[in-house]
């Protein structure tokens, strides 16, 4: 009896988090508002080549692995940590600089697709060679804290049952054919989501002979979710918002 009450104390019976709770946590990204003299130390410290100091200081969130190595490198301490946007609908929308500072993400997928798919979205996760960090987080999306099933999002076992391909990994040479087959097997209309830095640009693996440069070259991507890996609540919220909910 006593043992049981201790254990209950340790795991309170709390319902899954509300959308507000999930949205209250930020994923911080490095950003320079001003005061950069273009010395390029941050760019050479960046392991995935996300920073460009050529014309103005810009960061490509689709390449950033959120390691924050650049923050300590700046001799002028000009790099600050700011909240990153949840998602983007176009690849170029992930590049930020002083002339285009990061703000809350907006916009929804195209109207006919959203209307055809409705409120309940069946998701097929497709790993194209990720490090398995994203798989950890996709699995967490269904745990009792996020419980994406309550929003009508569910993982299905076959691409033939799916409305959405949630693609992770840089699209390795060895996975490309299987990914194309999976895409073909998914009925239209369908939505392709690139989840994580690898899927968006190849991330830290970009530039390899066989590692691939992201999903975009092989499949058309409708929704980009940055993060390395993106925490589960961000992936859930990004999908909901892109479908025009909340």
């Amino acid at each position: 009896m006593i043992r049981r009450s201790i254990l209950n104390l340790l795991s309170p019976k709390k319902p899954a988090e509300s959308i507000e709770e999930m949205g209250s946590r930020q994923l911080l990204m490095p950003f320079v508002r001003g005061g950069c003299d273009g010395c390029g130390k941050c760019a050479s410290a960046c392991p995935s080549g996300a920073i460009d100091v050529g014309k103005e200081w810009t960061i490509d969130l689709g390449k950033c692995i959120f390691c924050m190595d650049c923050v300590g490198e700046c001799p002028l301490s000009a790099i600050e940590r700011v909240p990153s946007p949840l998602y983007a609908l176009k690849r170029e929308d992930l590049v930020f600089g002083a002339s285009r500072p990061p703000g809350p993400a907006g916009g929804a997928l195209d109207e006919p697709t959203v209307a055809a798919l409705g409120e309940s979205v069946s998701i097929r996760e497709l790993d194209t060679g990720s490090c398995n960090g994203c798989e950890v987080e996709v699995n967490c999306m269904s745990n009792p804290y996020y419980d994406m099933g309550r929003f009508g999002l569910k993982i299905v076992a076959s691409p033939r049952h799916a409305d959405m391909l949630l693609v992770t990994g840089p699209m390795t040479n060895n996975m490309r054919k299987a990914a194309l087959d999976t895409f073909e097997a998914t009925p239209s209309p369908k939505v392709v989501v690139a989840m994580g830095t690898c899927a968006i640009s190849g991330g830290i693996f970009a530039g390899g002979d066989v590692s691939g440069e992201g999903v975009g070259d092989t499949l058309g991507v409708d929704l980009f979710i940055p993060g390395c890996p993106p925490p589960p609540e961000r992936a859930v919220l990004a999908i909901l918002r892109a479908f025009g909910r909340q």
Partner: protein, 485 residues
């Protein structure tokens, strides 16, 4: 760890040399070819308890296969053959292991090489044939949320008569990417060899980069804490996954809840749910404040309670126990034959644990009981994991109670020559080796524990029914990305 001068031998005698070592109780832990003029040096790394030895042989073109005498070398030779172009003559099963590409030259040789076309070379059918026998191909896109891999089951009715694992879908050429000037920061890439084992991989990489100079004591303690948290969350994932796979949803939900709380604590304390970016060459990145330590202690204790409660759920539910016991038995002789490591080996009666045998960081100063069971079935592997979580909690608490203020980073210098980093990742013994020549990493070899454990699964599934395969696979808990590098 710097490796001393090797035992040099003629390539014609390499197999006999390795066999002689193995007869004395040594085990092949890694094998890789490093290009030299005119051919390649085949390095065989062996370990017996705390002793590490290297047998090296200068080969040109081909050499008699080691696997003809030592089966554990088989998968290494397959990878060496396709990645470095060293042909093991008389190898019984020479199919590609990870690369699967046609073209001139080989990716791990220095000369330029080409890749022909987009397609992988076709997968071979299983050798077994007969009337009423079916071959079931599975993957690389699976029904669950897991990584890509291809399995071929030969079945007569329900029981599996033969299973072959074909991996390489996640092959990204990380070994090649690791080459270059030693000064480059490799920690982030190492973490992403296998994301759920980020700490172990970056630690093995750091051991190579740091040479033999020890990092500050506080950093060593924090590294132990990070490694053990990683072990807890990986083991919890497997326990919860086992419950999912036998449709025991209540326990699965409980297990994933316990794990999620730990991942959240990771984010709060270390800034990343999977602990990425914390181990850096020379020490650790983030120091722990007093509040951090008390949060950490609460979080891991909760995880420890949770793991035991979860194990209790499993043990008290006969229908689940029935699925787990006597399923997927890996016998002790097979575990030894394939050179398996980690939880898989320890559940089959092979008590091998790098933390106890070859202590690194602060492990030598801490006390823990290596867990080992004999039966080798899915239940034993689950039980080993549950018990190891408790040991991990104890290790973490030992560290936090003895922590003293101090620095957490120190300068380091990478020595030339061959060195290796051997750590106990959540999956088992993990080995990184680097051949550093004149300040350049000439060859970097990564041997994830999954690499040696996958072949053992090919025998563990025999005579089991196909619906039990997901359980067996989950109980092994192997990485595809780490295997394919």
């Amino acid at each position: 760890m710097r490796l001393g001068d090797p035992i040099a031998c003629d390539p014609a005698l390499l197999a006999q040399y390795v066999k002689a070592y193995c007869d004395e109780g040594w085990r092949v832990v890694s094998m890789f070819a490093s290009e030299s003029s005119p051919g390649s040096t085949v390095n065989v790394l062996l370990r017996r308890g705390g002793e590490v030895a290297r047998v090296a042989s200068e080969t040109v073109g081909s050499y008699p296969a080691v696997s003809a005498l030592v089966p554990a070398a088989s998968v290494f030779e397959r990878a060496m053959w396709e990645m470095s172009g060293v042909v093991p003559e008389g190898h019984g099963y020479l199919v590609p292991a990870i690369y699967w590409r046609k073209g001139d030259g080989h990716p791990l040789q220095k000369a330029p090489y080409s890749i022909d076309g987009e397609e992988r070379v076709p997968l071979p059918n299983n050798p077994i044939r007969g009337a009423g026998l079916f071959e079931i191909p599975v993957g690389p896109v699976h029904a669950g949320v897991i990584e890509p891999g291809h399995f071929r089951f030969s079945v007569a009715g329900e029981p599996i008569l033969e299973m072959r694992v074909h991996l390489g879908y996640a092959h990204k050429g990380i070994e090649k990417m690791m080459e270059g000037p030693v000064s480059r920061n490799r920690a982030h890439l190492a973490e992403r060899i296998s994301g759920d084992n980020a700490v172990a991989h970056s630690l093995a990489c750091a051991h190579i980069v740091e040479g033999d100079a020890p990092v500050p004591r506080r950093a060593r303690q924090i590294r132990v804490i990070l490694s053990e948290i990683e072990r807890i969350h990986n083991h919890l994932d497997v326990l919860a996954g086992l419950c999912t796979d036998c449709a025991f949803s209540v326990a699965a939900a409980y297990g994933s809840e316990v794990r999620e709380r730990l991942l959240r604590a990771n984010r709060e304390i270390f800034g990343n749910r999977l602990l990425m970016g914390n181990v850096v060459p020379g020490g650790v990145r983030n120091d722990l404040s007093r509040e951090d330590v008390s949060k950490l202690e609460a979080a891991v204790m909760h995880a420890g309670f949770g793991a035991k409660k979860l194990e209790g759920y499993i043990r008290r539910t006969p229908s689940v126990v029935d699925r787990l016991e006597t399923t997927g038995v890996l016998r002790t002789e097979d575990a030894l034959r394939y050179g398996t490591v980690g939880v898989v080996a320890r559940a089959s009666g092979v008590a091998s644990d790098v933390r106890a045998e070859l202590p690194y960081e602060e492990y030598g100063a801490l006390s823990f009981n290596p867990v080992s069971l004999k039966k080798g079935d899915v239940m034993s592997r689950a039980a080993v994991r549950a018990d190891e979580i408790v040991e991990s909690v104890s290790l973490i608490l030992q560290c936090t109670s003895e922590m003293e203020e101090g620095e957490i980073r120190r300068g380091y210098e990478t020595p030339d020559g061959l060195s290796c980093g051997i750590v106990e990742s959540p999956r088992g013994e993990l080995v990184h080796c680097a051949d550093v020549r004149d300040g350049e990493v000439w060859r970097y070899s990564i041997r994830d524990p999954s690499f040696v454990n996958w072949p053992a699964m090919e025998v563990a599934v025999l005579d089991n029914i196909v619906p039990d395969f997901p359980l067996i696979n989950k109980s092994f808990g192997l990485s595809y990305s780490g295997n394919d590098v």
